[in-house]
């Protein structure tokens, strides 16, 4: 073309064709692996493709998926949030203590989410304004939030939730149109997150901060404010998962969500979140969480000792990231 028009130039890009663009994504291969694992399990076992098992799988991964959405935002902005498991338990404890004291659900839920947001705000302010490393701040919060949950509940199990007891159990453990509620909520949150990442200035700014924080400062992006909002977002996701998980379990103890941060980070990383900052998608977080749950579930169904779980999930993290590195070197 001798004289390309402006529109031609705009539409040109390095990745010609939709297929090339899709196969270039780590998430595509992870998704393929998850689908392949499901197909293999369907053929190898009688129990995988049963309604009951699929219901369990989808519900189990929804909690990790919801929290991984928040984690992906944090990782994409160049940070890390180790306190999500503890935020989850403090949210679960807040809603449980209030409801068992006779409060209605909405009061308990509102308080739980407010407490979560407060946890995120404290993390964010220390990281963004006091400029402390996110690893250290959230490691401290991991310890603090769980300890506060113990103080709050006197470390007792709570399984009576007052007047709205049945509603809470329905919300976390029930299903509508055959879909477990946590799954429905996760899908809604994933869509909202994907929209925010792509179409709001907030999303652009958080990916810019993760890509080159110095550039973000120089171009006038309100870096500190965006960072605080990102940690609050992560904490809010953990808080929502906390309330739902109480409803599913029908009871709560202070060891809820212990070591969950590692599973969540694994899900985000398998789903393509770049620990160096600047990369990650909402869809990836969900698929990463799904894959981990499918691995866990398949080991059980295949009669392999659960001791092997860590080996499989761990290998997958390394393989997913190694694959991404390899692909980047090639291009």
């Amino acid at each position: 073309m001798a004289n390309p028009t402006l529109a031609d130039v705009i539409n040109r890009s390095q990745h010609h064709g939709l297929i090339a663009r899709i196969t270039n994504q780590q998430i595509f291969w992870v998704f393929l692996a998850a689908v392949f694992a499901c197909l293999a399990l369907t053929m190898l076992t009688d129990s995988f493709a049963t309604e009951r098992n699929l219901f369990n799988v989808t519900r189990n991964f929804a909690f990790v998926g919801i929290v991984a959405l928040g984690m992906t935002a944090v990782i994409a902005s160049g940070g890390i949030d180790l306190s999500v498991g503890s935020t989850l338990v403090i949210s679960a404890m807040t809603v449980s203590v209030l409801m068992s004291a006779g409060m209605p659900f909405w009061v308990g839920c509102l308080a739980a989410l407010s407490v979560s947001l407060l946890v995120g705000a404290v993390n964010g302010v220390l990281i963004a304004y006091a400029k402390m490393p996110s690893f250290v701040v959230t490691l401290g919060m991991l310890s603090i939030a769980r300890s506060l949950a113990m103080v709050l509940s006197d470390n007792k199990m709570i399984y009576e939730f007052g007047p709205d007891h049945d509603f809470l159990l329905w919300l976390g453990g029930g299903a509508t149109f055959g879909l477990p509620h946590p799954l429905i909520i996760m899908i809604i949150l994933a869509c909202l997150t994907a929209f925010a990442f792509r179409h709001l200035r907030w999303g652009q700014h958080l990916f810019a901060i993760g890509g080159n924080e110095n550039a973000a400062v120089l171009t006038g992006i309100p870096v500190a404010r965006v960072k605080v909002s990102v940690y609050m977002f992560s904490a809010l996701m953990a808080g929502i998962a906390g309330v739902l998980e109480v409803g599913w379990l029908g009871g709560v103890t202070t060891n809820l969500g212990q070591a969950m941060e590692l599973t969540v980070i694994a899900a985000a990383v398998i789903g393509g979140a770049n620990l160096a900052g600047g990369g990650g998608t909402a869809f990836g977080a969900v698929v990463g969480a799904l894959l981990i749950e499918v691995i866990r579930n398949s080991l059980i169904l295949l009669g392999i000792s659960t001791f092997w779980q860590g080996t499989f999930v761990g290998s997958f993290i390394v393989v997913a990231v190694a694959f991404d590195r390899f692909r980047q070197r090639k291009t």
Binding site: I10, R12, A208, A216, L218, G278
Partner: protein
């Protein structure tokens, strides 16, 4: 009418005189090579012009109007843009997103304000076309050459109606072919009537593109003359102090 005029600018840090009575006038579309050894006061002068800090004494005029800059934003509003040495670019984002970094246009949909990608792409394509650069708006900066990255950073300065673009060592760390690309970008700016202040150590680049050379030595302006009346040898002498003044 000069687009930028400095009158007796001095900057003092305690006992250190970073700039000593510097006076300088720049015309629209003029390319000025600002040269000097390390610590001669180049960065200080640029930071005074860009509003990073105020001079101890002296005045700045933009289009014959006296200006006082309290912060970089003030200078930006007056039409002064800076292209930083590291370009302030995010590798993980597209060229269009980088051009609009921090000032993304939005469209209203109901109560939401969503980022207007279509406008960002078409506007940055226009800017790249104006710069005669082959940079494509949708491409990730990650995969671009040094020259294309410069084009992205320079296109950013065109977004607002810049009158003066300050460029800090734009040719320091790129290949010979890309240097030619960057010098052509500078000429494009100049053709559009935008004055360029080029801070560089590379004598050939400066003489290739600059209309005027300005030399600082220990905070003092020791030369301000047309490039055609000077030579790399003379400028080297001025920088080192072998030649007192020109």
């Amino acid at each position: 009418m000069s687009v930028l005029e400095l009158k007796n600018i001095s900057k003092r840090y305690g006992a250190i005189q970073a700039l000593d009575n510097v006076s300088l006038a720049i015309q629209p579309g003029e390319v000025v090579g600002l040269m000097g050894d390390n610590g001669a006061g180049k960065s200080t002068l640029v930071k005074v012009i860009a509003g990073n800090f105020a001079p101890t004494s002296g005045d700045i005029f933009i289009s014959d109007q006296k200006m006082v800059f309290h912060k970089p934003r003030d200078a930006q509003k007056a039409g002064i843009e800076v292209v930083y040495q590291d370009l302030a670019i995010c590798n993980n984002m597209s060229a269009a997103s980088n051009v609009f970094l921090g000032r993304e246009p939005t469209r209203k949909i109901g109560p939401l304000r969503i980022v207007d990608y279509a406008f960002m792409r078409s506007r940055s394509a226009e800017l790249f076309a104006r710069l005669k650069s082959e940079t494509r708006p949708r491409d990730l900066v990650h995969k671009m050459s040094g020259g294309q990255r410069q084009a992205v950073a320079i296109a950013r300065t065109l977004l607002s109606d810049a009158k003066i673009v300050l460029m800090d060592e734009p040719t320091a760390a790129i290949s010979v072919r890309q240097v030619a690309e960057v010098l052509s970008l500078i000429r494009q700016l100049s053709d559009h009537g935008i004055a360029v202040v080029l801070i560089s150590h590379r004598m050939p680049d400066v003489f290739e593109v600059a209309d005027k050379v300005v030399v600082l030595r220990r905070g003092e302006l020791v030369a301000d003359k047309m490039a055609s009346d000077s030579s790399p040898e003379e400028v080297t002498g001025l920088i080192t102090g072998a030649i007192e003044k020109a």
